[in-house]
């Protein structure tokens, strides 16, 4: 079964600084999608960024970027110029693009990010 691992239960960063959240995954598939979701205290799940496994280019969305290492099965999230509003729980997630679990979404355990003013 596919698993997603976030080894950092908690991280902290100073406002305006950069922080990187780690994620690794285990899969035998060659085609899949990876995501980072943000869950602020309001508990709403918000999609931050997405990456298609067949694309080598790392995705970027404004201050958010990923470092996708397919061979290493690693998918880290970098937040630049951190803002107080970035404080939240961040989940790494995997979607199967084929096979018997086609479309199934699996989450990592989450990383709580604290932003200090």
């Amino acid at each position: 079964a596919q698993t997603v691992t976030q080894s950092q239960p908690e991280m902290s960063v100073q406002e305006a600084e950069t922080v990187t959240l780690s994620c690794t995954y285990d899969t035998s598939e060659s085609d899949y999608y990876l995501f980072w979701y943000k869950q602020p205290p309001s508990r709403q799940m918000i999609l931050v960024i997405r990456q298609e496994a067949y694309k080598q280019q790392n995705a970027t969305e404004n201050r958010f970027s990923v470092n996708f290492q397919k061979a290493a099965k690693s998918f880290s999230l970098k937040i630049s110029d951190s803002q107080l509003g970035d404080a939240a729980m961040y989940f790494c997630a995997y979607i199967h693009a084929g096979g018997t679990s086609y479309g199934k979404l699996t989450f990592g355990q989450g990383t709580i990010l604290t932003v200090h003013p």
């Binding site: 999608y33 799940m45 997405r50 979607i95 679990s101 199934k104 979404l105 699996t106 989450f107 990592g108």
Partner: protein, 114 residues
């Protein structure tokens, strides 16, 4: 913006009572998920449907939980009888397979069983 609507937002019930949570997926979405979030277990997949047919409910305690999609605009998750260990936030999400753009989540139902 289109949204996934979950009701109720909060529910407090006594042990042994039946609980029904409802989800209205985004119109046109063909895949619906139910997740449970707790501090100890994180986000657990309970069940998911495609075109209203159940695909995988292996994460759901079968003896007390049931999930259905009576029509394309409604998904339900029932717990009968409820137990204190069922206290959690339950999320519904919908989207179009294969999910290349992710799935959209509802605001969740916070269930407390006393």
């Amino acid at each position: 913006d289109a949204r996934v609507t979950q009701t109720p937002r909060h529910k407090v019930t006594e042990m042994g009572q039946e609980v029904t949570m409802r989800c209205q997926p985004i119109l046109g979405h063909n895949t619906v998920f139910w997740y449970r979030q707790t501090m100890m277990q994180g986000l657990e997949l309970l069940a998911y449907f495609r075109n209203r047919a159940p695909l995988d409910d292996s994460g759901m305690p079968k003896d007390r939980f049931s999930a259905e999609m009576p029509d394309a605009t409604l998904a339900t998750l029932k717990i009968q009888p409820s137990e204190p260990r069922d206290s959690a936030v339950y999320f519904c999400a919908s989207g179009l397979v294969p999910g290349a753009y992710g799935y959209t989540f509802g605001s969740g139902t916070r269930l407390t069983v006393v």
